[in-house]
């Protein structure tokens, strides 16, 4: 197998083709920096999510503006008695749902306990705000520093322009791409060497919108930061709005990861995983096979 000569930045379109074997060839899809920052990001985001839910559980409600409306928040998760039995209730914009077992009330240490998110979703698993905070603030640094390494690499190596920004032709055919995705038909041959347009848009919005937004909204929750940059918390519409946006961004990340992992599973799990570990990605068949 031919690898790109040392010293050249390898990337998706730098093909390291295997000997042609019935339309099957291997490319070096993900450069080392992308692979490392990807897996550090997996760890950091997972810890941030689960320690974040621990912190959320200390006050399982969301508000808009600067202050909390304790009686009628936008969203709340509570435990209450109904027909002599404890139930978990999630209220969104005044509409209540029975979420017993998952939100509001769930089993912790073998007995039903009032808690926003269940123990399997939080770090630590038991209620401990102080510990959730030290996890969150340590891994916030991991997330941000790793994000900077990724961004500097992605800009300096032109990864952003070469691999992430969709071409005009791709954007024109976005409709066809959506239909193909819905039918689990994935690009082959030449086309499979590049991210498809839906992938590109998803990655771009996560990298340049959701992740920066979640970091900034999180910073706005710090009273010292608000003294330093009061205009930023005002831009978010107040500290409680910033907290809600922080939570919505986390929700967007979870949805992205669910779709991302699903796509990894259905479009050739081992090939995808290998490409994010060793960098090598096998492409089968030609475009006209589709």
């Amino acid at each position: 197998m031919d690898l790109p000569p040392p010293g050249t930045a390898p990337h998706m379109s730098d093909m390291a083709e295997t000997a042609p074997r019935a339309g099957r060839f291997t490319i070096l899809r993900h450069p080392l920096t992308i692979r490392i920052t990807h897996w550090v990001n997996v760890l950091a985001l997972l810890v941030m999510l689960m320690s974040g839910l621990q912190i959320f559980n200390a006050h399982p409600a969301l508000d808009w503006g600067n202050i909390s409306a304790f009686e009628h928040p936008l969203l709340s998760m509570t435990a209450m008695m109904k027909d002599g039995k404890p139930v978990g209730v999630t209220t969104v914009f005044g509409h209540s749902f029975d979420t017993t077992g998952v939100l509001g009330l769930s089993t912790s240490d073998g007995r039903p306990s009032p808690r926003g998110f269940p123990s399997w979703a939080t770090i630590p698993s038991y209620q401990d705000l102080a510990t959730g905070r030290v996890w969150h603030f340590f891994f916030a640094w991991v997330l941000v520093l790793n994000g900077f390494v990724y961004l500097i690499y992605a800009l300096a190596s032109r990864h952003v322009w070469r691999d992430l920004i969709p071409s005009a032709a791709q954007l024109r055919h976005i409709g066809r791409d959506i239909i193909d995705h819905a039918r689990f038909r994935f690009p082959k041959g030449e086309e499979a060497k590049h991210y498809n347009v839906l992938q590109k848009l998803a990655y771009l919005s996560i990298v340049f919108v959701v992740l920066p937004l979640i970091v900034l909204a999180g910073l706005c929750l710090s009273p010292q930061f608000d003294a330093d940059y009061p205009w930023l918390v005002a831009l978010f519409g107040g500290r409680q709005s910033a907290r809600t946006i922080h939570f919505l961004c986390a929700t967007a990340l979870v949805l992205f990861v669910l779709v991302h992992v699903f796509m990894v599973l259905v479009s050739g799990v081992w090939n995808n995983l290998r490409s994010m570990i060793t960098g090598r990605y096998t492409i089968e068949g030609d475009a006209h096979d589709r």
């Binding site: 200390a58 600067n66 698993s125 030290v134 710090s222 010292q224």
Partner: protein, 258 residues
């Protein structure tokens, strides 16, 4: 292309569930180990220095207008102090109560509530952010801490001001006196006051009468209530469990700016 039924995929999911359970119990064990906690807590000093550098130490916490006041300011922590001496003072509206200012000062002080009210004061409408996540806006009037410390003349070795309170809080060792501490950067900050009025009324007992600290660039647990005594110290290692505040002794960070 059709989606194949890949048995490895099922195995992957099963393995994933097992790995998740392992990770959860692993995180609990890591949370309880001293060495790992020290690593996690190692960024606290970094956070303080970076945030102070960003604000150059002088920036004011955002201030609001009367229209922004919370209709109901949540009472948190203790709503009263059970101490007998405190209760006697409460019965007489703190008429004979005196704030002690001591420790590493040239001139220890004893200030009555009337004397405190005669000192340089500041009124500010600020946001109170509880570590739990909620916020309330209240109006505070109180004596600025800086002139009091100037009057008491801090000794050069003084690094922190400790606030000793009348209330006690539970801990695994039994009830512990509430205390807090701030460094001199915060002590001399313009918005750092000993508040005796809240929303234009004398500070209610539930909110920490006769005075509570307002250090506005910090979370709610820094805003010590029922303050009885100020002590200037070089280090807080010999107070409580040595972490600088009741909540720090319980595992919260001493730096409450985040």
């Amino acid at each position: 292309m059709t989606v194949e039924h890949d048995p490895t995929r099922r195995r992957l999911l099963k393995g994933g569930t097992a790995a998740a359970a392992l990770m959860l119990s692993g995180c609990d064990r890591l949370s309880e180990s001293d060495w790992f906690r020290q690593i996690l807590e190692s960024v606290e000093g970094l956070n303080l220095r970076i945030q102070r550098a960003l604000g150059r130490g002088k920036e004011l916490a955002p201030e609001y207008t009367a229209a922004d006041l919370s209709p109901l300011f949540k009472v948190n922590g203790n709503d009263d102090a059970e101490d007998d001496r405190y209760q006697k003072h409460a019965d007489t509206q703190f008429a004979d109560w005196k704030l002690e200012v001591g420790g590493l000062v040239e001139q220890p002080l004893q200030l009555s509530l009337a004397e405190l009210r005669a000192l340089p004061a500041r009124t500010q409408i600020t946001r109170h952010d509880c570590v739990e996540g909620w916020s309330c806006i209240g109006k505070w009037t109180g004596a600025r801490l800086a002139p009091i410390l100037q009057q008491a003349r801090l000794k050069p070795e003084a690094r922190y001001i400790v606030f000793h309170c009348a209330d006690t809080m539970p801990s695994w060792k039994g009830p512990q006196p509430y205390y807090e501490s701030i460094d001199l950067d915060d002590a001399f900050h313009e918005q750092t006051i000993l508040a005796y009025d809240m929303n234009d009324q004398p500070l209610p007992i539930a909110h920490g009468a006769p005075i509570r600290l307002r250090a506005e660039r910090h979370l709610g647990y820094k805003q010590a209530k029922f303050v009885m005594k100020l002590e200037a110290v070089t280090s807080f290692r010999n107070i409580g469990d040595g972490k600088g505040s009741y909540w720090a002794d319980q595992g919260y960070s001493w730096y409450a700016g985040i």
